[in-house]
């Protein structure tokens, strides 16, 4: 004999809540996603592909990939080093360090761009020196990279710190007693343990790096075919009445988002990783 489960709601309430949640998801999230693709194809496939093959669009894609290819590995290296320092050792100011790593989360992207103008703009701290030595940072690739790095700074570290904290250091200590060296321990013991968490952090970091708009917009200079990243190129096209082209380029970014979500939930599925955006 079955008796009603007292810890759940009655069937109509359950259905109502599921329908409500479905409606929220559809209205809040699915609708914008659909809109990107529908607007992109409004003028047909031909316009869609022509806008993607456009020289400025291709250079924007290249720039976005280049910026991510440099900033993501550097932030990954930082994330691993920071997590190693914070979780394997106890030292004064450790809690402060963890809070400081979180700092960029609280900074508006616009401010993340502004600080670099104050540092490297012609009237910034290093402006005159850069001018004299003919090094371009702001309004060139390096500026875009450092602005991206600022914004995506915490992602890998934030992912690894709780993971490595929970795993403890026993295995590493055991490896030391067996005579293993530092790199060996990291590669043979730590890395296999954290590889999924690491991938997860890199994934989030990359998604944010390729999609960053506010910070990059402040330091880009908007030179067509040179310093427009893909999100900025979308804005440019949007401002040129080329709505279908703007949305066509936006689909690339939306696809990136979908791939990110797919890989992310695959990792979660295989590793029992708790879901997080932070």
């Amino acid at each position: 004999m079955s008796h009603p489960d007292v810890t759940t709601e009655s069937k109509p309430v359950r259905l109502l809540l599921i329908a409500g949640a479905g409606l929220i998801m559809a209205g809040l999230l699915l609708l914008p996603l659909l809109a990107v693709f529908i607007e992109a194809l409004r003028k047909g496939w031909e316009v869609f592909f022509v806008s993607l093959r456009d020289e400025a669009a291709l250079s924007a894609v290249t720039l976005t990939l280049t910026a991510a290819a440099i900033s993501v590995p550097l932030n990954t290296l930082f994330g691993v080093a920071a997590a190693w320092a914070v979780t394997k050792f106890r030292f004064k100011g450790r809690a402060l360090l963890v809070s400081l790593i979180d700092l960029p989360f609280a900074v508006s992207p616009v401010i993340a761009g502004l600080v670099w103008v104050l540092m490297f703009g012609s009237h910034g701290w290093f402006g005159q020196w850069l001018l004299a030595s003919d090094i371009k940072i702001i309004f060139a690739l390096p500026g875009i990279i450092i602005a991206t790095m600022f914004v995506t700074f915490p992602f890998v570290a934030r992912e690894l710190i709780p993971l490595m904290e929970s795993q403890g250091s026993d295995q590493e200590e055991a490896a030391i007693t067996l005579g293993a060296g530092g790199w060996q321990i990291f590669r043979r013991v730590t890395l296999p343990n954290i590889k999924w968490g690491l991938l997860y952090g890199v994934l989030l970091c990359n998604a944010r790096a390729m999609g960053e708009f506010g910070a990059v917009s402040v330091v880009s200079g908007h030179i067509r075919g040179e310093t427009n990243t893909l999100p900025l190129h979308v804005e440019v096209l949007y401002n040129e009445y080329q709505f279908s082209a703007a949305f066509a380029c936006a689909t690339l970014l939306a696809l990136l988002a979908l791939v990110t979500l797919g890989v992310k939930s695959a990792i979660e599925h295989f590793t029992d990783h708790s879901r997080s955006v932070l």
Binding site: V6, L97, L103, V107, I111, V117, F150, E173, G214, E235
Partner: protein
């Protein structure tokens, strides 16, 4: 204490971390504060209480709080359904939660504008009722709800998953109806996580730029947000003013971040 240092790499990893952190984050932020400190207290004050800054601050904080509140309500429903019920499409729904996070803000901005503009899919419908969605504070609110939503769900989800049903069973055995149990037992237990989620969504919304500038219409005094005001001051060659507004925003954001960390610690402590 000393014994833990048998693991190698302390100097290397900490040194690299500190240098990287300083060069990339701390020194640039110091540059910002120093630039802002170039103005005296009086100028700071005058700038921050000027009508336009106050209006932008009111909109930024007001719309962010309202959006975080709506995200909390919607997020609670969605999380509940995701954690407690099994139905077809649940995995997909779960994966989709992070879309606002993964979708670049500029794309979100032009898309939401297209949907909510007076001639857009939803906007045209709302316009029939005389509701103006895009180019009004409502548009800002919609965009901020979109960006804040995943933060609420992803904060609530692990907490709700860890709940054992013991308490709920006990309440039911004591004769409480399901609704009473949810209201008196479950919701209070979820509250700390909900507050954390709200604060995260709120903090994220305050700094949001890309998705808002397209949909807001950027009317000074009406639909202008603080980050846009910073950009606008910068474009008017008024760098010190931009630095002052940015510094003030940063201070508020840091305080929020700090309270999130405190909340989180309290939450962990309660959890144990």
């Amino acid at each position: 204490m000393h014994q833990r240092r048998v693991i190698p790499g302390f100097g290397l990893s900490l040194g690299f971390t500190l240098i990287y952190l300083s060069v990339l984050i701390l020194i640039p932020l110091a540059a910002l504060f120093l630039k802002a400190a170039g103005l005296g207290w009086q100028e700071w004050w005058n700038l921050l209480v000027s009508a336009r800054v106050l209006a932008a601050a009111k909109l930024t904080f007001g719309a962010s709080a309202a959006a975080a509140a709506l995200s909390s309500v919607l997020g609670t429903i969605v999380t509940w359904v995701l954690v407690r019920y099994r139905f077809p499409g649940r995995r997909l729904m779960d994966a989709m939660i992070d879309l606002p996070f993964a979708l670049p803000t500029a794309v979100a901005g032009i898309t939401l504008t297209t949907i909510y503009a007076p001639n857009g899919w939803v906007g045209a419908y709302l316009a029939q009722f005389g509701i103006k969605a895009a180019y009004s504070p409502l548009g800002v609110f919609i965009a901020l709800t979109f960006v804040g939503f995943p933060f609420v769900v992803r904060t609530l989800q692990p907490v709700l998953e860890d709940f054992t049903k013991d308490t709920e069973e006990a309440a039911a055995m004591l004769g409480a109806g399901r609704w009473v149990t949810v209201r008196r037992v479950v919701l209070p237990m979820m509250l700390p996580a909900l507050i954390t989620g709200f604060t995260l969504a709120f903090a994220r919304a305050i700094g949001e730029y890309g998705s808002v500038i397209f949909i807001s219409g950027n009317l000074p005094m009406k639909t202008e947000i603080l980050p846009l005001l910073i950009v606008s001051q910068l474009e008017q060659f008024n760098v010190p003013a931009a630095a002052v507004i940015a510094s003030a925003m940063l201070i508020v954001s840091f305080m929020l971040l700090f309270s999130i960390n405190l909340l989180q610690r309290w939450l962990d402590w309660r959890h144990r």
